[in-house]
Amino acid sequence: MRVSIDPESTEVQVIHELVEFEGRRVLEVGCGDGRMTWRYADKAVSVLALDTSDAKIQQAIDNTPGRLSGKVEFRVADITQAGLELPQEGFEVAILSHSL
């Protein structure tokens, strides 16, 4: 037996019930180790996932499934930091996960 977070997939069902990810550009703030990112990234056209923790972002990068490596970018950043460059075209979806 091992540690398992949301094996019932309740969270993934709820986020897909609330948000249409198909073909969307997504900004995720507070992505942590990418646990939730993997649950919608397949459908998105691109994902920029931010977290202030170096260690968490490194974990997320290390665990990125190969099929997603071209569409998901993990970045150590604070959304409030001055000079944070975000894509000009904007995002259709933003996710704030346990962050504020």
Partner: protein
């Protein structure tokens, strides 16, 4: 507040914001064994509760200022399954959780797991809010 305004600026005209926040007032530890759930207890989460209240207030302010409007809210329980109390504590440390769990709760969970097996479940209610970006032009 600044984060929410920056997100507002980074969204397209018809963009949406999905906010996921725990409701720590109702979090609890349980032991599941042979199809039965036994409540172990809750722990002092006042620090987390203060943070969440602040976050809720910030969302309320940006809504009242016309940046976003809430379209839907859904509540659900996020369950974390651990084979042992030590695994739970290790995971909390990895996550950077700083709240100290009372020894009585930990001992009760250890006793229940030791006598009848099963697994420790941490039940965390989450509120998911879908907010639609509003144009402020």
């Amino acid at each position: 507040m600044h984060a929410l305004r920056k997100i507002h600026r980074s969204l397209t005209e018809t963009g949406v914001l999905l906010d996921l926040h725990p409701e720590p007032e109702d979090s609890r530890a349980e032991v599941a064994r042979k199809g039965r759930l036994e409540i172990v207890g809750t722990w002092d989460q006042e620090a987390d509760i203060q943070d969440i209240r602040l976050a809720r207030a910030q969302l309320g302010i940006v809504e009242s200022q016309g940046f976003f409007v809430t379209e839907r809210q859904v509540g659900f329980d996020l369950l974390e399954h651990y084979p042992s109390v030590e695994d739970w504590l290790d995971h909390r440390t990895e996550r950077g959780d700083t709240v100290v769990i009372q020894r009585e709760l930990l001992d009760k969970a250890r006793d229940l797991l030791a006598t009848a097996g099963g697994e420790l479940i941490i039940r965390e209610p989450i509120r998911a809010s879908l907010l639609r970006r509003l144009s402020r032009d």
